[in-house]
Symmetry: C2
């Protein structure tokens, strides 16, 4: 497995493509299918395979109809995007203009896929994955178990694993860390049975305890959606240092309007009192970044929106604004419910962007734990 990125240059693309075809039977190219002069994928593949380039009529018609619906005419420049290499199978692009294509030739399979990430993902999901699974007779390609962890760093996890007897024979452990979240994948080598892999995953789960929030590749916003939908409960947010990030993450989920009512971005301190009802006294005495303020923000937004849960964050994302007492990275998070309010203090590492990411991830995790605690 290897991924090579080259500039939009004929010679570089040709050389990279020859190298990939020499190493592998299955080659994916993404990008270079657009309408501009720097889009060279079709031409380079056609030259290498000794093929022509032809118009893919169904894609052209689809694009033409899409244009007609908004009163525009398809011109020759945009039409170029529906050309494909002769003899290739077109892979319709449901979210963009340029179709992907699969070319089989000399015992190799070459996929040409659009470059914009959402178009690449759509063609991958709709055409490439089904083809790959069919090639394997429907079997899973990889034997792996996943653990999604929140609130522990990569080093903390390794330490716990070493204490639990890692490395385990025949099991490879891979880590992918983002702000506040680590995805752990346990891969079984050939001689390891499915039962041994399950046992390894169970040992990992014990070692990491409550920090594991899922056993599949799922994001917290989806898990929260499932929990709130099942309970028919609603949520409102009050954000200071994250500026809307938590709301944005929650509403990435289709159907989130069933449980997420909305929220208040209280970036200026006076908004914390005028809209969320944090008293001037509390702000004066404890400051905008304090346990007292965040609890009142959470209670205030829950009351204002008439929600079952109020989730609030306030903190110092930096780079300036820190003090000896409250350094950059200091964040308070609160979850307000009818009978109780949970609050936690954190000091997050990193720069402004990372502190905001950690805050968002940890806020969703505190909410998840609060919802879970009710059972």
């Amino acid at each position: 497995m290897r991924d090579t990125t080259v500039p939009d240059d004929r010679a570089a693309l040709d050389e990279a493509l020859r190298g990939a075809l020499a190493r592998a039977d299955l080659v994916f190219i993404s990008g270079g299918l657009g309408p501009t002069e720097d889009d060279l994928t079709r031409e380079v593949v056609a030259a290498l395979a000794g093929r022509g380039i032809v118009m893919h009529e169904p894609s052209r018609r689809t694009l033409q109809e899409r244009f007609a619906r908004t009163g525009r005419t398809l011109d020759p420049i945009r039409e170029r995007q529906t050309l494909i290499v002769e003899g290739a199978e077109a892979l319709p692009n449901s979210v963009g203009a340029a179709p992907g294509a699969r070319l089989e030739w000399n015992g190799k399979v070459l996929f040409m896929l659009p470059g914009p990430p959402h178009e690449f993902g759509a063609v991958l999901d709709e055409h490439v994955m089904p083809w790959l699974i069919a090639q394997r007779g429907g079997a899973q390609a990889l034997r792996e178990r996943v653990l999604m962890v929140n609130g522990l760093g990569e080093s903390d996890i390794v330490q716990r694993f070493v204490e639990a007897g890692w490395p385990l024979p025949g099991i490879d452990t891979a880590y992918c860390a983002a702000a506040g979240r680590v995805e752990i994948r346990l891969h079984a080598r050939e001689l390891v049975s499915d039962e041994q892999l399950d046992e390894a995953a169970a040992r990992a789960a014990v070692a990491l305890g409550e920090y594991v929030y899922a056993h599949e590749r799922i994001h917290l916003e989806h898990l929260i959606g499932t929990l709130l939908t099942r309970r028919e409960q609603t949520l409102a947010t009050a954000e200071s240092c994250t500026g809307g990030l938590i709301g944005e993450r929650l509403t990435r989920v289709h159907g989130s309007s069933h449980y997420y009512l909305g929220g208040v971005i209280a970036y200026a301190d006076r908004i914390k009192s005028s809209i969320l009802g944090v008293s001037e006294d509390v702000l004066m005495e404890h400051g905008a970044v304090s346990k007292e303020t965040v609890c009142r923000m959470a209670d205030g937004v829950r009351a204002l929106y008439g929600a079952d849960y109020g989730l609030a964050v306030t903190g110092i994302a930096g780079p300036s604004g820190g003090t000896a007492d409250k350094p950059v990275g200091t964040v308070y998070i609160a979850v307000s419910e009818a009978r109780t309010t949970h609050v936690e203090k954190y000091i997050f590492p990193g720069d402004r962007e990372l502190i905001r990411e950690w805050t968002c991830q940890s806020a969703m995790n505190l909410l998840r734990r609060s919802i879970g605690m009710r059972d």
Copy 2:
């Protein structure tokens, strides 16, 4: 220039590294400097260069002090991250544990950089770029002109350029498109003078007109920050379908608290009336996604926050919720000022994520144009 990505595998890493060193004098590796068993960069480089691996004491001490400040002890697993290849120059990592390193050997220069994007960026900005610029005697590496465009697609731009006489001799035009935004770079080849490059940029600016929002690589949220700061004016947002994305983008800018007061995420329709004051009659008669509703949302949030500008969006991000009259992608955006409210209707392409991105980008652009109109 080439970028190669390989799995955390000794043989694959070794082969890719040998290939890169055969092709280039300057090689960058990112990733594989962490504390886990799949972090192999140091070992593979050391083996290839016939070097040992040594502890970088200053980095170890810094990490130790950082741990001490939060009452923790540096253990052998985490300490592993401060090892570097013998003879390499360490590049301190201001936002993470593992330092980068620069190894000069056999006339080649090899940079080892941390993998997490924010750490990679920090070491790049603080150590690699200054080194590169020093190597070139402080000169700019690339002669280019940038145009940032909002509201035109790549194909629209190409069409305008063709009509304006593109391609221009000696000038390469490159495009990088994201939702609602295209970055255009004009590169001068060797025989083209700076004056000719400026002339090309001027022709591009004329061809694209008001769609050009900047002549440097700047995001709209920074431009808005500059405009509002200069005018000492404030802004509040009311978001429905974007769920906080606009607030999140605006607050990525350090110092945004000087002009951005915050906003209301009005995801549920009843919040649009209870908090923003959109009357039930307007919602009933025109719907939550309408010109009338978005104008009242913008006016409402401006009044509620006491801001100079109110920016509001409402739309159908999908995948469900569309009708024949208002298909998925229908979005209304309004900017409210003391004396007037600007409103625009859009039908954006793509999936949920893309529609939200387009909405955010177009909202910031309508705001920018509204602020500009005041002069």
